[in-house]
Subunit: 271 residues, 2 copies
């Protein structure tokens, strides 16, 4: 794999720093622009979704007022959401892709106004694991949030899509086990998502979480695995987090701190 840095090199005066867990090597850091404030907005919590809180609490119209880029899901867990250039796409388990309407509701979504502070061109095959490691080292610090926009040509990509649920809603662990994993080959499209720090586990998915839609808007979903042939990785640094909790009684009664939270997040997001 060949990576070509497109960053503006800026000097980064360094004191005596301890290396942070998961922090980038110094060589990588020095290439970054100065850190500027940028907000990531989120409605509800990953832990609420895991507990079966699928009632939409916010319209897409309101959500898009907080950012033009992001991911989430829809009322009743009716498909994966990916927002690109202020357009929300709904990727359903039946394989359909539609432009969502602004009056649809979301029970969980994370958005930001995407401003790339780092970009890197990729040439040569790159696996998901390799890209994930690259992203870990692109950021200034593992303690911030990062929006990730990855535009690329994929040798293959596998995705999953949540299935619309009926009331009474079951916890997410009972909904994802029978989701089909769909494999597409020779596809071009965009992955959008976030890399969030460890202290966000439960609030969001600690680590990388990305959704995909192809350029023709005919397939996509929650990204499971891939090999990318070439592409552009763009990273948007987030220093501020705003979380808006639902007002619904279902949310008020949710169990947001189950003993097996980490396990549930992994099962729901990483299988």
């Amino acid at each position: 794999m060949t990576t070509t840095a497109k960053n503006t090199a800026t000097s980064d005066p360094q004191g005596h720093r301890r290396p942070a867990r998961g922090a980038a090597p110094r060589a990588h850091r020095a290439r970054h622009s100065p850190v500027v404030r940028h907000e990531v907005f989120q409605t509800s919590l990953m832990s609420a979704l895991l507990d079966g809180i699928y009632d939409g609490d916010m319209t897409l119209a309101e959500l898009l007022g907080h950012g033009n880029f992001g991911l989430g899901t829809f009322e009743a867990l009716d498909g994966e959401m990916i927002i690109l250039d202020s357009v929300p796409w709904q990727l359903r388990v039946d394989g359909s892709v539609t432009r969502a309407s602004l009056d649809q509701l979301t029970p969980f979504a994370t958005v930001t106004n995407f401003v790339p502070s780092i970009s890197e061109e990729i040439k040569g095959p790159l696996t998901r694991a390799e890209l994930s490691e690259l992203v870990d080292h692109l950021g200034v610090s593992a303690n911030y949030l990062y929006g990730l926009r990855i535009t690329g040509d994929f040798e293959w990509i596998t995705t999953r899509t949540v299935r619309r649920q009926k009331r009474p809603f079951p916890p997410m662990s009972q909904t994802t086990s029978d989701e089909p994993v769909v494999r597409q080959t020779q596809t071009s499209g965009v992955m959008a998502g976030f890399r969030t720090p460890l202290f966000e586990q439960g609030i969001n998915v600690a680590g990388c979480h990305v959704h995909y839609v192809n350029n023709e808007h005919t397939h996509g979903g929650h990204v499971v695995d891939f090999v990318m042939n070439s592409g552009l990785i763009e990273v948007c640094l987030g220093t501020d987090l705003r979380v808006r909790l639902p007002l619904s009684e279902a949310f008020q009664d949710a169990d947001l701190a189950p003993d097996d939270l980490d396990e549930q997040v992994r099962a729901a997001e990483h299988h």
Copy 2:
């Protein structure tokens, strides 16, 4: 102990709800006003403070722009902060209490514009444990944040105060072990702080965290224990959380997810 509810009783149409962990009994809930949105603002993270990130990242002038009420600490861990009616008080380990100036810096603070949605008068002696349990049951749901303002006459109250640190800053666990616990008897004053949900552990202190200053502004600190003879509990519900991470290199390099995070929070805040 006698408690007198001062809430406006409103009907609360209820479906079939599962009881949440730590949630209030239904009888308590029905007394509440409808939930309205309210933001709690925080600069930096409890886990960063535990890791020794004591460099102030925000002036009090900026902090007070986000709320007129709250708590925190000062640059170099130089005392406990309590903010009441937009006045920040600095409670130092030497026993002094001064009105902090707006150009002082804070490395960690949580504030809100205090709007009480629930208030309850207390008559008869009430221990910290009893009051804590009462607060747990006053709220609409354990899944929201709560500002707590407790104005009272205390039979006695014990407080601790962090000590100004020198560079290089040690982790908080090494700073709090020799803090004196000061006991005051027959004192009247105000406790200010927050009750935060379990998913905030590390971000803040999950559970109750309050600071105290007496009415004469001559003593106070981080509250350890007390018996309150009479007083007024006021609770401000927070549905939105905004966290602003520091831009400093020290923060970027901090270890925010140590294996013993829970233990460190308990040691720093609850001894």
